[in-house]
Subunit: 346 residues, 2 copies
């Protein structure tokens, strides 16, 4: 068993400096930290989590924000999954308000300075998310639920994330429809360039092109944008069918839009509408949908957080060794986990 | 200014005993506590909140649970309002899972024994809620968001609550429809005897009877029950109109059911459908609804919690003095606040 003294000897520093690097890296000079982190990686040093907690008196708490209007239909289910997994691992969850990304940075600062929180979980990640810059600058541990859209390096060891593969889910759904004889499959997506929305759109687009179901011009005709409410889904569906009366299926980027689309179809329609998120209401209407693995997502987020709390996942030293069985659907490494959603066909 | 020594002298006990009664009542004999509480009430003793916090090293934290499936369409908006008000008052919010009422009691016990939480906010209150018995027995401060349905004494000083008057909201909506010429107003409610659901149902029923729009037999014909999903709303609406084709308005207990009902009406219908909760989707469809004052609710919950933290609202000594302006819509007293929702007519 490698001890903190072995690391200190290997790096040519004092044990206290090694401890500082793990528990309070901000107070250590970058060059020294680099030395110690290299030794930690080389010796594969993993401190005992419980002992560390006793010693460091960490608050053992993660913080997560809630927005005035949830971006996700399943945000409350995700929160439940997160607190369930945290609870099973002796970690508390502090909930704070986040009215904007700048507001969330103020919360980071306040919670961090009071020692209330060890790590943060960020949701609703955007292109060039200013929250990431702040967290990196302050050496504050965090995990993203969502990807760092637009980042130069998606799998930067300093930016751990867990996400659900929307591209995969929508592609699977589109392919399912193609394989069941649908020829003219429309898509209702969100406006703007949200990473999540673009990712799901590309899942439909690439499946259609790969199967030569449409060329690029036709894809434009088969595509409508809608804000995420029922009326917008209704309007988009009517527009699509006006333009292309031959449409025989519509893949929607969300259950809300799918419900809108489904409610303007005549009763005897043969057109299939599919959604995303497998909500109670979509289920009640018999719509096929795509279920996010929220519990598994939460499990990975809590695992990464625990490794941070234990100091075994230094932000700039790369992910730990891959543990077989721990992440059956993980795509890349222990610190960057892309989970596959599940088709729910009705 | 009354001091802790004045209370001790009045009650014939030591200042430490008074302090214990306020900060750690479980360790004081009931008879002694009663004496001290009587003196506190008589002398109107209100300790300084900040000083007390410094002295008592309270965690200054409230706990609130989240269920696997939210009972409310606006639970996330309520959580946001709660953490916003808490933040403005220097109070942290810990979120924990609650898979059942018994599970929530286990959480109470764990959070309380670790000193993580000073007070709890309970939602989704039910008849003979076992959580209340546990909290009372353990002298654990809490505030209900919702009423203690079925309680012998609704305004028990030991059971502070804040709620939104669903009876009033549905009655106002029904009366609005009557005053705008609707003669045959149906109601789609929830099955079972949930306090919230019964309260809203009675708002419709009493308004119809008062205005002599229907007798009791007719009311049964104008009433349908539905689970809270869109399909059930659709089915209930079709049933109602089959039975009573003369229906010219349907008041629904929730926006979800209203959306269901609205989506099965023909496009040229004159029938008005109304919902409850003023959600984005109901708004998008132009449905009238009833908005809960969530921010005001959160404000009262945090105020009552602060009074608990400050020790100025001993559970068995009744509410504090009513402060004019603090609770414009308060119905009863400072510890039992019934807020009026707002009609949103479209």
């Amino acid at each position: 068993m490698v001890s903190i003294k072995d690391v200190a000897k290997d790096a040519g520093v004092s044990p206290q400096t090694v401890s500082n690097c793990i528990n309070n890296p901000a107070i250590v000079k970058p060059a020294t930290r680099k030395l110690v982190e290299t030794s930690i990686a080389r010796l594969n040093y993993t401190p005992n989590a419980s002992a560390r907690r006793l010693r460091t008196q960490r608050s053992n708490t993660i913080g997560i924000g809630i927005a005035p209007v949830s971006y996700s239909q399943v945000y409350d289910r995700f929160l439940h999954a997160l607190v369930t997994e945290a609870d099973a691992n002796g970690i508390r969850v502090i909930l704070y308000k986040t009215d904007s990304q700048q507001d969330e940075i103020r919360q980071f600062d306040a919670l961090r300075s009071r020692g209330d929180v060890d790590s943060f979980v960020l949701t609703d990640t955007t292109h060039d998310d200013p929250r990431l810059a702040w967290l990196h600058e302050h050496h504050q541990p965090f995990v993203l639920f969502g990807r760092p859209w637009g980042a130069r390096i998606m799998n930067d060891p300093a930016t751990p994330w867990v996400d659900v593969d929307g591209h995969y889910g929508i592609a699977e759904m589109t392919q399912h429809l193609i394989l069941h004889g649908r020829k003219h499959i429309g898509f209702i997506g969100w406006p703007g360039i949200s990473g999540t929305g673009m990712d799901r759109y590309q899942g439909w687009r690439s499946s259609m092109l790969d199967a030569r179901m449409a060329n690029a011009d036709e894809l434009d005709q088969l595509y409508e944008e809608a804000k995420n409410d029922i009326l917008s889904g209704q309007t988009a569906c009517i527009e699509l069918l006006d333009r292309r009366p031959d449409i025989d299926a519509i893949v929607c980027v969300s259950d809300t839009l799918a419900i809108g689309a489904a409610t303007v179809l005549p009763n005897d329609t043969d057109i299939i509408i599919t959604g995303f998120d497998d909500t109670v209401s979509a289920r009640s209407m018999g719509l096929s949908s795509i279920a996010q693995p929220l519990i598994e997502s939460a499990r990975h987020i809590v695992r990464i957080t625990q490794e941070q709390l234990a100091g075994s996942a230094p932000a700039s030293a790369g992910g730990g060794p891959h543990r077989p069985g721990a992440a059956p659907h993980a795509s890349t490494d222990d610190q960057h986990v892309l989970l596959k959603p599940t088709l729910v066909i009705r």
